[in-house]
Structure formats: C-alpha cells, structure tokens
C-alpha cells in the first residue's frame, strides 16, 4: 500500500493512523524533518487528522449505531438503555460492570446459573455479541 514517507535527512516523525489502516487498508506515514518549521508540521498533522478523522469517525459512528441497536435487543425486557420500570423484578442493565455481565451471560449460557428463560436466549448469542452488549450497558450512565 502507498507510503507517503519521504526521507530527507534520516530523522522522521511518524503519524500512524491505526483506525484508517483498519478501515481503508491504507497506510499513511507523514515524515518530516526535525528542522522543518514546528508550525508547518502542526498544520500538516492537523489537516491529516481532520480528513482522516472524518472517515474514521464515520466508521466509528456506524459501529456505535450498530452496537446500540444490538444492545437494544435486550431492551424489550430490560428497558430502554437498560433502565427497567420502577419495581421491576427483571433487573436493569444500565451501568452494570462489563466483566460481571460477561460472566453472568456465560453462566446462563453454560447452565451454571439457573434461569427461567435467559439460558435459552443467551445460547443464541455469540461471544462478539455478548462483548458488544456488555460494553454498551457498562458504558451507559445510570
């Protein structure tokens, strides 16, 4: 893949854009002489970050959207954004620590935690879906 690295005097700054590498299979390296103007360097970096930021943000925003909709599959019973109604016997998920939630879902899934229905639902979830769901509720503020 294209590299924009242009050696000048052997000492470079690298700006690696990991998100973009993942998303678009491109690899950018912005190499600049230490002797170049600090202002110019900042300007180039800012411009790169801005254009790259838009593309990376777009994918990040899409992923956020998909993850939020995936987590919403729990909301029918566990409430919108994991907030159940007052006095609900079905627990709220909002703000639940991620490691706890992953353990509980897997305990339902492998039968070590008894359940009325959750052992059947959780067997339909992949590890990736469990991760997505647990991340979402852990990150949602009470």
């Amino acid at each position: 893949m294209p590299s924009l690295g242009i050696p000048r005097d052997g000492i470079y700054f690298f700006v690696d854009i990991f998100m973009l590498t993942d998303l678009f299979n491109l690899s950018y390296e912005v190499n600049m002489k230490t002797t170049s103007s600090r202002v110019a360097r900042l300007c180039v970096t800012a411009a790169m970050t801005a254009s790259i930021g838009t593309a990376a943000n777009a994918q990040q925003t899409a992923t956020q959207l998909h993850n939020r909709a995936t987590a919403a599959m729990c909301a029918n019973c566990h409430g919108t954004d994991g907030r159940t109604i007052e006095g609900s016997a079905i627990p709220s998920l909002v703000g639940m620590p991620k490691d706890y939630m992953v353990l509980q879902i897997n305990a339902f899934k492998n039968g070590s935690r008894p359940a009325t229905v959750m052992h059947q639902i959780t067997k339909g979830l992949t590890d990736a879906q469990i991760d997505t769901i647990s991340n979402y509720y852990a990150a949602t503020k009470r």
């Binding site: 838009t54 943000n57 777009a58 925003t61 899409a62 956020q64 959207l65 998909h66 939020r68 909709a69 995936t70 919403a72 599959m73 909301a75 029918n76 019973c77 566990h78 409430g79 919108t80 159940t84 109604i85 609900s88 016997a89 079905i90 009325t116 229905v117 059947q120 639902i121 959780t122 067997k123 339909g124 979830l125 879906q129 503020k141």
Partner: protein, 428 residues
C-alpha cells in the same frame, strides 16, 4: 455530504449525552408537508420504530407517526381482561411520552393511499405527506369474508373477535359476565399463520379459569382449524387436563365456514354444527389493509415480502414493512415482541441509510412470549433469530430458545414485568 456530516456530528455529540435539542422541538398532531421518516401504525412495531429512529439518530431525524387511536391498547395481557384479572386501564398506555419525551410528531388519522413513486402518503382527512423513508406497521387485517355471515354478526356486536385489543376486549368480557352459569363459550382458531400463535389457547385458559371460579357449570370449547395446538402444545394440554377437566374441551381440525347469528351456531367444513352462548370467531388474517391495497402484500396476496436485513419491501424501494404484516422467516412468530425487535433493526438500518453509513451486516432478533394459564401460572416460548447473509434470511440459532419446563408462578411475575417493560420500551 453536508447532510451526512451534520447527522454524524450530531450523533457524535449525542453519544456524549447532549440531547438538548429534543425537548420542545415538535408539535403534536401537526400534519407536515414532509417528514424524513413517516411511520404508519402506532403498535408494538410502529411506535418502537418511531422512538428508535429518533433515539438512534440522536434526535436529528424527524419522524411523523400516523395512528388513528388516541392511546395504545396492548394485545398481550388483553386475555387477562377477558378472564377478569386485569382491567382495560392496565393494558392501556398514552402516546404522550412518544411525542413529549422523544419528539415523535403523532398525527391521529388513517392513511388511505401510498404513492411509492412520488414517495407520499395521503391521509383520510385529505393532506399528503412526503417522506424519504416510510415504515409500515399496520398489523393485521381480519378476513371476515372468509366465514359466511361473520361480517354482519361482528358489525352488530353479537359475534366478537377481540383479537385487536380495544372495545371488543371489554365487550367480550361483558358477554361472559352476563352469560348464565351452565352456558358455553366457543372460540374458533384459523389455520396458521395468524397473529399470536398461543393467544387463542391462552384466552381459552383465561375463560376456563373464570368459569371455574364463578360459573362452574359452564364450558369452554376450542375449535381449531389446525391439526394440533400450534404453540406450547404439551404445556397447555397438561395444564388443561390437570386443572380444567370437565370445563375445557379441545377439538382440532375444525375449520369454521359459516356462522348463523339467529341460532348462534358455527358451521364447519366436515364436522357437525356447534351451538354456543358466546361465540368468539377468529377469522383468517392477512397484512393490514393499507399494505394489501398498496400491493405490498406480494406473497399469496396476504403477507408482505421484505429484505430481512433492513425490512425494506421486496415490492417498493424506501418502504419498510415490519410486524405482523410481513412474510415470516422460518420459525418466526407473529408477536408484539417480534415486532418490537423488527422495529429496532429497521430503525438502525434507516438511520444508517439516511446518513450514508453502512447497514449492520449481521442483525439478530429475539422473541419471548409468555402465556397465562390462570391468573398466576405462566409458560413461555423463546427464540433467537440470527440474520444469515448467505441465504438472506433469519435462522434460529441451533441450541437456543425453548419453552418452560413446567407452568410456574415465577414466570407469572416475569410475564407481567415483561409487559410493563416492553410497553415502556415501545412508548416511553
């Protein structure tokens, strides 16, 4: 590009919890010339879709929902009103949070026609609304004409369906209350698929429970066009044998062809006539009227084919159909929970499409359906449906899903809490 950036920037802000713009930005009941998203129907599918398009776009995509009823009346739990352990107030939720909290513009009206080319819907009151995306969740249409004499007998209030919860729910309860001890209640069930597979068996159980308490000489007859109980069969039959022996009788392979309102008699294709004091006839069903009229019901002229990844109609671009109106993927029930799940996948897809973002490549749906066997004991069926990109359909995940091992009171508590939480998730 401008629009996309705007929506994305807004969504980024929203993810930080900035929802300031949502309050007071809409008026209720206004008929706009244009809405980015128009939703037809305010049931489990439509109301959820309206709310989640708003939420998932961080309140940047405007939504107008068209619904003729002033309040949401739930079909799930409505059998308990018929059985006498819940009231109409218990199953009724106002739409005010959907408008006030979520900024959905609700127009109380019917849609009489759709122009898929011009992308407009026309209301019964006259005006048209343009849309970028249309979500249709019109529920079911009861095919009264498939049973001779039923249309008139239903219109007169004599033979009720009460399958669309509302005034008929209460009217059926009143018919049972005024029936003499020793009378007969008969419910007929159409061939599957129909809305809420276990619903008729739950209703029969509720009526039997009421009779057992208050009118012990009375009888419940279930006249089923199907070969056997279509959902949770062994659980229902065991409970009936243990608790409603001598009260409830189940008769499969009874396909009702006609009703005689003068003598309150049911006529079948093969079997003998059945006379009863209270008749509750559920005719065959198809997609909601507006979907059929608009030629979206392209499967046997009954159900709407959709692309399952986005629920976009296979018949018309930018029209998405969800809920009971669609042609089901294998093992998918027509249920309120399922409609709520369809709505979220669709809302996410529409927000992505209107923002030039990719659609979720692997959505999944879940369903949990509880049935009350008396006022406390409950059984469930649950399933998980994963989208399969190769076959373009949903498939149940092997090893997932199932039913209750036995009827139990704990699930009675969960069932009522399920109802309250899904009403809140749909409407509040």
């Amino acid at each position: 590009m401008k629009r996309r950036s705007f929506v994305q920037a807004s969504m980024a802000l929203g993810s930080l919890g900035t929802l300031g713009s949502m309050v007071g930005c809409t008026s209720v009941g206004r008929v706009p010339e244009k809405a980015r998203v128009v939703v037809i129907g305010g049931g489990y599918g439509g109301a959820t879709a309206a709310k989640y398009v708003r939420m998932l776009s961080n309140y940047k995509i405007d939504v107008t929902m068209i619904e003729p009823n002033g309040e949401f009346v739930s079909c799930p739990i409505s059998n308990l009103v018929i059985g006498g352990s819940k009231t109409m107030a218990d199953i009724t939720t106002p739409y005010d949070k959907l408008s006030g909290k979520h900024g959905v513009n609700i127009v109380r009206d019917y849609v009489v026609s759709i122009d898929a080319a011009k992308k407009t819907v026309t209301l019964a009151s006259g005006p048209s609304i343009r849309y970028d995306k249309l979500i249709m969740s019109p529920g079911i249409d009861l095919m009264f004409n498939t049973v001779e004499g039923l249309k008139e007998a239903n219109a007169s209030g004599q033979i009720l369906q009460a399958w669309k919860a509302g005034p008929e729910t209460l009217a059926l309860r009143k018919q049972l209350e005024s029936m003499d001890n020793g009378g007969v209640y008969a419910i007929t069930i159409p061939e599957a698929p129909y809305r809420c597979p276990p619903g008729p068996y739950e209703r029969a159980s509720q009526v039997a429970h009421y009779f057992k308490q208050h009118k012990p000489k009375s009888k419940v007859l279930i006249l089923d066009a199907n070969q056997d109980v279509t959902s949770k069969g062994p659980l229902f039959k065991k409970f009936w044998a243990d608790n409603y022996k001598g009260i409830l009788e189940y008769m499969p392979q009874h396909k009702v062809m006609a009703v005689d309102a003068k003598t309150n008699t049911l006529k079948f294709d093969v079997q003998n006539d059945v006379k009863a004091n209270v008749l509750n006839v559920l005719p065959a069903m198809r997609a909601g009227g507006i979907a059929v009229q608009s030629n979206l019901a392209n499967v046997n002229a009954r159900w709407c084919g959709v692309h399952y990844q986005t629920f976009e109609s296979t018949q018309a671009k930018d029209i998405h159909v969800i809920g009971d109106s669609i042609l089901l993927a294998p093992l998918m029930p027509k249920s309120g929970h399922m409609a709520n799940s369809h709505a979220k996948v669709t809302a996410s897809a529409i927000v992505a499409q209107l923002s030039d973002m990719p659609v979720n490549p692997s959505p999944f749906l879940s369903n949990t359906c509880y049935s009350f066997l008396n006022d406390k004991m409950v059984v469930h069926v649950a399933s998980v449906h994963q989208y399969d990109d190769k076959d373009k359909t949903y498939k149940t995940v092997p090893g997932s899903g199932g039913v209750s091992s036995v009827p139990n009171e704990l699930e009675g508590i969960y069932a009522w809490n399920w109802a309250q939480n899904i009403w809140a998730d749909t409407l509040m």
